[in-house]
Symmetry: C2
Subunit: 244 residues, 2 copies
DNA sequence: TGCATTTAGTCATACTCTGTCATTATACTG
DNA sequence: CAGTATAATGACAGAGTATGACTAAATGCA
């Protein structure tokens, strides 16, 4: 774009300053949210704590939700990165499962604390217990699954427009992650082994069907030949017997 | 609560009036949303169309989102009802699958039209294309899965506090429904056969693993002896080999 | 008819978020 | 060093959603 000679260090300095402001806003916001609750914290209270104008907050974050979703975003980005980095020989199901586990582990590895509690736990609890944040986080996950689906489809050499399997696989594991967060909140600790265990328990439950190797086996089709899944819609079509 | 003798007709009349106002607000809202988009429709425009005060709107609906989510709520309630009505001898997976299909069919059966298009399609498209509504609808689904889980767990005689299978099953099918809505929007029609076919295709893909018959297996839960669930759980806890 | 309860309307207000313009800090140029 | 461009911030105004408090009217009941 531009020369990285003389101007670069200065730009870096400005970046650092921006980052400081940004981090300060995040920290102040989380502490206030934790102390008073998300809904009962006004944006001007956050900006007062950092001593910037309220308008500045909205220059750093698109919304009040946005600042709390910072970590959700990171977790999802981590997942996509991890998925792209899985070795090619792994079949889709295993790669997705391992990538999700990696992102969960990375989230748990965050060692910062807020009021003596791991920040990850504080954030998960905050999101889970605040309707507006829960909604925003589910939406964010949903919207970004497209990207993960593309990565997965690329990797497996299938077309996400016509093949439903990548959508299903990503969606299922995203849902599992929500369930893990739920249990995490109940557990009330950020014990990596324990929570990865919970994740594995769910993943084991899903079993081999969805996780099968797409490239070779017509796995999805235990009861017919159609593996293209478009055709797979057909035969199953079990007529719904009357409810009673 | 009270006598249903003399007062009943009056109460009924008041109820009808309330319902008329409410329905008028919903209709006006959907038409405006469809015409100008959700975000570009102000609440006072809706209330102007029905000729009530803006404040009145918020007496009928908790929020602007709420009025658009009316149909999502109905779909979810339909599901829970349908699940409770499934015959006992069906195994969990089949019952859940059929109940979801029933609620989908019922949604599709809505024959009202808005601007010559089926209302169900209009609403699905509206929700899917409006971030705020998408978020709210995902949240609503999430929050109400608790109830469905309880119904399912009751039915199967398992404890939802310790058994993860009902959570997983409900969550997976809820996610599938979102995927169906997605394709529905792409299809651009409200063709029952076609969309039920899409649902079945996803459901077939999930296969028997999660849908297994629980009645024979003891409640799994503690991963100590992760026996059960279909033996698929086998050698869980696979150590994650290095990414590269 | 008189009294209580419920429902709707009015007014006031808090909060989120956006647009705009002035002000300051910082970087580059001669 | 002065002068200028650019980016960041502040200050202010305003729209829109949502809530609380109070008032007026309708309704149910004595």
């Amino acid at each position: 774009m531009n020369g990285l000679d003389a101007t670069a260090p200065e730009e870096a300095r400005r970046d650092r300053k921006r980052r400081r402001t940004r981090d300060a806003l995040i920290d102040a916001a989380l502490e206030l949210f934790e102390a008073k609750g998300y809904e009962h914290t006004a944006v001007h209270e956050i900006t007062d704590a950092v001593d910037v104008a309220e308008r500045t907050f909205f220059r750093y974050f698109a919304s009040k939700e946005d600042v709390a979703l910072h970590f959700v975003r990171r977790e999802i980005d981590d997942f996509t990165t991890a998925l792209a980095a899985r070795p090619q020989q792994e079949c889709a199901g295993v790669a997705v499962r391992r990538a999700f586990r990696t992102s969960l582990e990375r989230l748990l590895a965050d060692s910062y604390e807020i009021n003596g509690e791991p920040r990850s736990l504080v954030v998960v609890r905050l999101i889970d217990s605040t309707p507006a944040l829960l909604a925003a986080s589910l939406r964010y996950t949903h919207e970004n699954s497209d990207q993960a689906v593309r990565v997965l489809a690329d990797r497996e050499g299938v077309d996400p427009e016509t093949d439903r399997r990548p959508w299903l696989l990503i969606t299922i594991y995203a849902a599992v992650l929500v369930l893990v967060h739920r249990e995490w909140r109940v557990v009330g600790r950020a014990d990596t082994d324990e929570l990865v265990g919970v994740f594995d328990a769910y993943a084991d439950e899903i079993g081999p069907t969805v996780s099968g190797d797409w490239s070779t086996t017509p796995q999805a089709t235990k009861r017919s030949e159609a593996h293209g899944l478009h055709g797979a819609a057909r035969a199953s079509r079990d007529p719904d017997p009357p409810t009673r």
